[in-house]
């Protein structure tokens, strides 16, 4: 259904390497406009590495990453900045600035990239915090709020400029089921109301079935994608042992010996 659409992110033959250690070897991937794509896989398979490359934090050893028509592995600074303006990122640790209140955290990108007067920005931040249900906490410092609230605040900051593409690194990891469900609902809401393309890195099975339009699964041994498609279909029909094991939470002794 999505395949007729134009891809907004295209990853071509991506090779990612830290030092001598090759993490991803020849990954090809297309992310389509308006979809929620979940990148999954076991620990250490390169999920976060893929994400870091897609947002330009790490430079690939070879291959191209085209985000909305601009190849971010090979472009000038102005084009790169335009691309960054289109994306929002929620980091695994939320990465809120510890010395600033939640409102100040959100004001950083808004004040930099828009011409709104200060009082209007304050109103906007209140609306945005209200959207993630944090309206009463605008003057709190990050270390004064809980982990789930930090994630929501990080999400609100990632959404500050209404990005076209949203990257979420483990948005529900380490949260209680209720907080995780709240985040999942927010993700769906954002995707529906603004047609935002969302790329999520996670291994929370429950979230995957709830939000994913499409999943891709990475694996450590092949250093690439071993499966992609609808999560329910993969769970029911995949022949691949690792994919089956992942969705059914089975530990296979073969996988263990491989990682050791």
């Amino acid at each position: 259904m999505k395949n007729q659409q134009k891809p907004i992110i295209t990853v071509q033959n991506l090779v990612a390497q830290y030092g001598e250690n090759v993490i991803l070897d020849g990954v090809n991937l297309e992310v389509f406009k308006g979809e929620i794509l979940v990148v999954l896989g076991g620990s250490g398979c390169g999920k976060s590495t893929l994400l870091r490359h897609m947002v330009g934090l790490d430079v690939p050893r070879s291959g191209n990453i085209i985000v909305d028509g601009i190849d971010i592995t090979n472009c000038n600074d102005a084009d790169f900045k335009t691309t960054l303006r289109k994306i929002g990122i929620l980091f695994q640790s939320s990465a809120l600035f510890g010395s600033m209140t939640l409102a100040e955290n959100m004001a950083v990108p808004i004040a930099e990239y828009s011409d709104l007067p200060k009082s209007v920005i304050t109103d906007l931040i209140r609306m945005k915090l209200c959207r993630v249900d944090l309206s009463e906490f605008e003057n709190y410092l990050p270390f004064e709020i809980s982990g789930g609230m930090k994630k929501r605040a990080g999400l609100a900051r990632a959404l500050a400029l209404n990005p076209e593409i949203l990257f979420l690194d483990e948005p529900t990891a380490g949260l209680d089921p209720v907080s995780a469900a709240e985040i999942d609902n927010l993700i769906l809401q954002i995707n529906q109301s603004s047609k935002t393309t969302i790329v999520i890195v996670t291994h929370e099975l429950f979230s995957i079935f709830k939000v994913a339009h499409r999943v891709i699964m990475l694996d450590k041994s092949t250093k690439g994608i071993i499966a992609q498609g609808d999560p329910q279909y993969l769970k029911d029909h995949s022949e691949n042992k690792k994919v089956k094991g992942f969705f059914n939470r089975e530990s296979s002794s073969g996988q263990l010996s491989e990682t050791l």
């Binding site: 600035f97 510890g98 010395s99 828009s114 011409d115 709104l116 209007v120 109103d123 906007l124 209140r126 609306m127 945005k128 209200c130 959207r131 309206s135 003057n139 410092l141 990050p142 270390f143 400029l161 209404n162 809401q189 529906q192 109301s193 603004s194």
Partner: protein
């Protein structure tokens, strides 16, 4: 910006704003700038916003509506949005549009009475002092524990701290002391030359370095290099709950983290001071030989004649005390760290400032003791 809205005014004073086109993040600032001032100058009693022809709407669009609403007089203005299709309605519901006012009331900063502030500051300082004293107690108890249970000393950590505090600091201590010796010799020679007393430059440099400047300069360098590092290391561990992890594993964080650092400092700072003395004297020697025409032999023999063993030991004792102060304050500030990255920065700054203050304070105390001693 006219292409984004039309304004009509009805006879009964109602103002109608018909918004069109894209009401989103790209246009919001520009639309708001002209539209809100236009609405404000007309100061309507009631305002109707028609968003039938809006093609794109996000929360920045909602922001425009919100700001328009706020152009009305607060008490008797009526505000209405017309032709809301399903998508804007959804967004307005998500941000709780009708309830936004209750958040928008500016929070007044409470004006705090000066007496209350004074009291707060006093309590904070007393708390700080209490923590300092209890930390001294904790360090002393830990030292006694290590004395009776030598196995609990973390030898590897101690040696590591000795390398970082001592060996790694040697080049900078040597360079600064050498230049310091050079400066003292040079400055004093200007005065002493007038009396033909060039030879006493050697005495002056030797005495100044061994009893005062060697210990103090070394201590200040170590405070800047290692005191701040101790505070930052322990502060970061505190923030990431590593200290709590140690505690729950049954370790005493003071024995685990503080004792190796204090012990290492007591050992290496006097050694660094010794090097500092030597290099300072060498700096003086260079000035003496190349500018004052003294031979190296006379300079050195004059130096040896001046310095007594007592003088050197006195300096080294002082530097050992300074070492304890630096390591103690560095660890203390680390354990006091709160908050995030900024908290670690504050801890490191405070460690350096406090230890330099204490170094100078204790040096004055030593000077007083000395003057009564002999």
């Amino acid at each position: 910006m006219k292409e984004y809205y039309d304004i009509f005014e009805r006879d009964d004073g109602e103002l109608i704003v018909r918004l069109k086109g894209r009401l989103d993040v790209k246009n919001a600032a520009a639309i708001l700038q002209t539209l809100s001032s236009e609405v404000k100058t007309r100061s309507p009693s009631s305002l109707v916003v028609d968003i039938d022809q809006v093609t794109a709407f996000d929360d920045y669009g909602a922001l425009i509506l919100f700001e328009l609403k706020h152009q009305l007089p607060l008490d008797n203005g009526s505000f209405r949005i017309e032709n809301v299709s399903s998508k804007p309605e959804e967004i307005l519901a998500q941000i709780n549009f009708d309830e936004q006012e209750k958040y928008a009331i500016p929070q007044k900063k409470r004006a705090v009475n000066i007496l209350v502030r004074l009291g707060d500051a006093t309590i904070r300082h007393l708390d700080n002092i209490r923590f300092m004293v209890s930390f001294i107690g904790s360090v002393v108890l830990s030292f006694l524990h290590v004395l009776f249970h030598p196995k609990s000393l973390r030898v590897d950590d101690t040696i590591d701290a000795m390398e970082k505090t001592g060996v790694d600091a040697l080049p900078i201590v040597a360079l600064i002391s050498f230049l310091l010796g050079l400066i003292i010799a040079f400055m004093s020679s200007i005065q002493l030359q007038q009396f033909g007393a060039n030879i006493y430059v050697a005495s002056l440099v030797a005495l100044a370095m061994t009893s005062e400047l060697g210990p103090i300069m070394t201590a200040i360098i170590v405070a800047g290099r290692s005191g701040s590092a101790f505070a930052a290391e322990i502060g970061t561990m505190k923030i990431y709950e590593e200290i709590d992890a140690l505690f729950t594993m049954g370790f005493n964080p003071t024995i685990f983290l503080t004792i190796p650092k204090i012990l290492a400092s007591i050992i290496v700072v006097p050694l660094l001071t010794l090097f500092s003395n030597l290099f300072g004297i060498a700096g003086g020697l260079v000035v003496g030989v190349f500018m004052l025409g003294l031979t190296p032999g006379t300079y050195i023999s004059q130096t040896i004649e001046t310095i007594t063993l007592f003088e050197v030991l006195w300096g080294l004792t002082k530097s050992a005390i300074f070492a304890v102060l630096i390591a103690w304050v560095g660890c203390l500030r680390g354990f006091q760290t709160r908050g995030g990255a900024a908290g670690v920065g504050n801890a490191a700054t405070s460690a350096v400032v406090t230890s330099i203050f204490l170094i100078v304070l204790f040096d004055s105390i030593f000077a007083v003791i000395r003057s009564y001693w002999r």
